[in-house]
Symmetry: C2
Subunit: 462 residues, 2 copies
């Protein structure tokens, strides 16, 4: 039975791709896209299509038209002047192409609303899902599809992971994509969907909520056209996995800017906020939030309790972390008598047995491990914020290993705060590669724990 | 005439240093400190002092006691067990040592209030300024004094600059110190002052406000003991230069943690907030704010106007930046007719002549330069937020050079937002080395511009 939302399977995992506008001329977008497919090692079939083709393009047999290919085409990537797009969509429809990505600009965003309607009508005639126009398209590090036409040396390749990122804006999309590797999480799917003439945020949210590779959905939107359908899909999606959303145009001036940018109807901020809250979205107020939340959701277990144990090797940082908890609706846990007794036995005398637990400046891996092992089983502790300052004599890669062990095997969420320069960043990177979220400041860590707990409560109907 | 606040000149710029507790044993703190002096290339005289000395320590003639040195000593760095400290301070006083840093712990922070009082009384008897105890001490990249006893390979060396950082907490101090290089500002003086038994935040603020190398003061405090004097010094300091302050213990739980950490009386958060606001401090709510604010204050000119021009090469990022302005009490500038006319002539047709000014994805250095040159002279524009996304085809080191040119020569403040991975970070680093603050998110940039404008208004009595 046909779902009422667009099926993006053939776009995200195509067995064959026609690149319409492919070219041997490196200045053409169609060239960059085709070269990317080849460079990424895409394993499906590639068919370059160009009206002026002469035999071969980038070493592949070229076709003048889609209909000449005579083989089944899952995905058409269209990079040709705007005016020619609707006719090519029609050809694709006739050739039973299963989906298309239109990267070309020159539609509603520059006042050409009519041309965009034509594009949409044509696609809908064939029930063909089309992403775009005016977008970067899609990237999937697993299937190695990549329709982006940006210089590859300018973007760090994201590692494979569980976070899918969909963005109305190509600029926000590509800069976040470029930050993923450094931000310690991995990518499942990337979708830059631009003007959303056919496939819109509703279809994408629906697809990602059913997608097994996607553990966390992250969205940049400027507006939603199908409000009722959006809510229907949101209800399902947020009960399955966390959906982090950042909306451009939450102020009046921002909304005006958004309108002139993608001609999106931004709608009232309050209405969006209400919907996001009611249906369990996690709202990011800035790109920083978005990255911070993505990484805690990708790796850490849910918990509805907000009693946090802070463990630190620096007193002042423990103070700031305590402040940060209360500024984000969290609280310090109170240790059970058993835990106190155990810690008193195991910790050196200089360690004051109370939270924040200051392991003091010479803390090594054993002291962190002893503390975590005692607190892990304390029923009064719901979550951990562990501060590991690597400037201190005792902190080294063994401390990082200990935090990896607890941060990946415990049933309670754990975040690390490590602030510093290159030595610290090396250890941050170790921990993040292994699946432990590390933050640059106690405030970022507290905001992320708070997001996790709020979402957990939504899931439990609290 | 003697000032009523401690004179730190001889501590920060000593011609000779006695290192009490110096040792050939690399496990001793006194060894690490002395080795650091040698490694840093300190140009003054170094006198190792150790009761058990045998001839030489680290290649320098050793002395059993300070009084044996027979040469004038500007600074004594004391790294010996707590109990022995007051007697050594007394010896230093008798030997007319001009200042001391006590790095040893084991005083009020572990309940030994009496010993700390003894230390203070002895120092005061000789009117000798003493920093500490329980601190990392001081670092000055110009005079190359460095009493820190942390492994040097764990801390990135800060570059020389105009920001002085004083921290009650050694942990907060050392992690911020380690971040300076990567955060794009330079260090004037670093003072970790611990329990503040003798020299306290009042003396330090007074010293830094008079110090010509210090253009910006940044402070981490947990409490102020001399309230009236603090206000008196603050009045003077904030009229001379920006003072960014972060206070640990702003929540009740945080204040309790602070008390157990340095035995500081945290006092009511509201009272502190009121004083900070009234006397023109810039309050940082997190370490991230602190770093963000330091770099805009170090390099950018003051302005009391809040009409900001956003220039971008990505539409969605321009939308988020516009939102961020209004969320931080700033507003979008409105272009004058002259500017509009000029831009219409100079910009390609695809560029919509309005703010945020979207130069679109193929913007190169010339387009940025044309836009900035037109907007620089527009009387309706007070400040700039320039978004440069280096993932785009047109953005390269020439764009960075253009932003350096405007960001360092204009009379209006300019901040850059560049989000991305390694290619972006390379350009961020270029711009920051040249004195242009670059932020990872529009929210950080807006918060920093807002801090600059609020401080400028305080200076003008607005």
């Amino acid at each position: 039975m046909k779902t009422k939302y667009a099926d993006l399977t053939h776009i995200m995992s195509p067995k064959s791709v026609a690149i319409i506008g492919a070219s041997d001329n490196p200045d053409k977008i169609g060239h960059v896209i085709m070269q990317n497919y080849i460079d990424e090692g895409y394993e499906g079939k590639i068919y370059p299509v160009n009206l002026n083709s002469t035999g071969q393009i980038l070493g592949h047999k070229a076709y003048k038209r889609v209909r000449d290919i005579k083989e089944p085409i899952d995905l058409a990537v269209i990079a040709i002047p705007a005016e020619a797009v609707p006719a090519v969509i029609d050809e694709c429809g006739k050739a039973k192409v299963k989906g298309a990505v239109v990267v070309s600009g020159g539609f509603a965003e520059v006042g050409n609303a009519k041309l965009e309607e034509k594009l949409a009508e044509t696609a809908n005639k064939y029930s063909m899902p089309v992403i775009g126009p005016n977008c970067l398209g899609v990237m999937d590090p697993r299937t190695r599809i990549d329709t982006l036409f940006l210089p590859t040396y300018k973007i760090d390749k994201p590692k494979i992971g569980g976070v899918s990122f969909a963005s109305q804006s190509g600029a926000v999309g590509s800069s976040v994509l470029d930050m993923i590797n450094n931000e310690g999480f991995g990518l499942a799917r990337f979708i830059s969907y631009g003007n959303a003439a056919v496939v819109d945020e509703v279809d994408i949210l629906n697809y990602l909520s059913d997608d097994n590779d996607t553990r966390v959905v992250v969205f940049y939107i400027e507006g939603v056209k199908r409000g009722r359908e959006f809510i229907e899909v949101a209800k399902k999606a947020t009960m399955k996995k966390p959906v982090v959303i950042i909306k451009g145009g939450v102020t009046e001036a921002g909304a005006t800017a958004a309108h002139s940018h993608t001609a999106a109807l931004a709608g009232s901020h309050e209405a969006y906020e209400a919907v996001f809250r009611q249906y369990g979205f996690t709202t990011a107020k800035d790109i920083r939030d978005l990255l911070n939340f993505a990484k805690i959701f990708e790796t850490q277990p849910l918990t509805t309790g907000n009693r946090v144990a802070i463990i630190t090797n620096g007193g002042g940082t423990g103070v700031l972390a305590t402040d940060a908890l209360y500024q984000h609706e969290l609280r310090l846990a109170e240790l059970s008598k058993d835990t106190e007794k155990r810690l008193r036995k195991e910790m050196p005398q200089i360690v004051n047995i109370r939270l924040p637990l200051d392991l003091v400046g010479d803390a090594d891996d054993k002291r962190y491990s002893d503390a975590l092992s005692a607190l892990e089983v304390d029923p009064n502790v719901d979550a951990f914020m562990v501060i590991a300052l690597f400037q201190t004599p005792g902190a080294d890669s063994r401390v990082a290993s200990t935090l990896i062990q607890y941060g990946t095997q415990m049933k309670k969420p754990l975040v690390v705060v490590s602030m510093g320069g290159s030595y610290t960043k090396a250890h941050k990177s170790m921990m993040e590669s292994a699946g432990v979220p590390v933050y640059d400041s106690p405030g970022d860590a507290a905001a992320s724990l708070s997001a996790l707990i709020n979402y957990s409560r939504y899931r439990k109907g609290m």
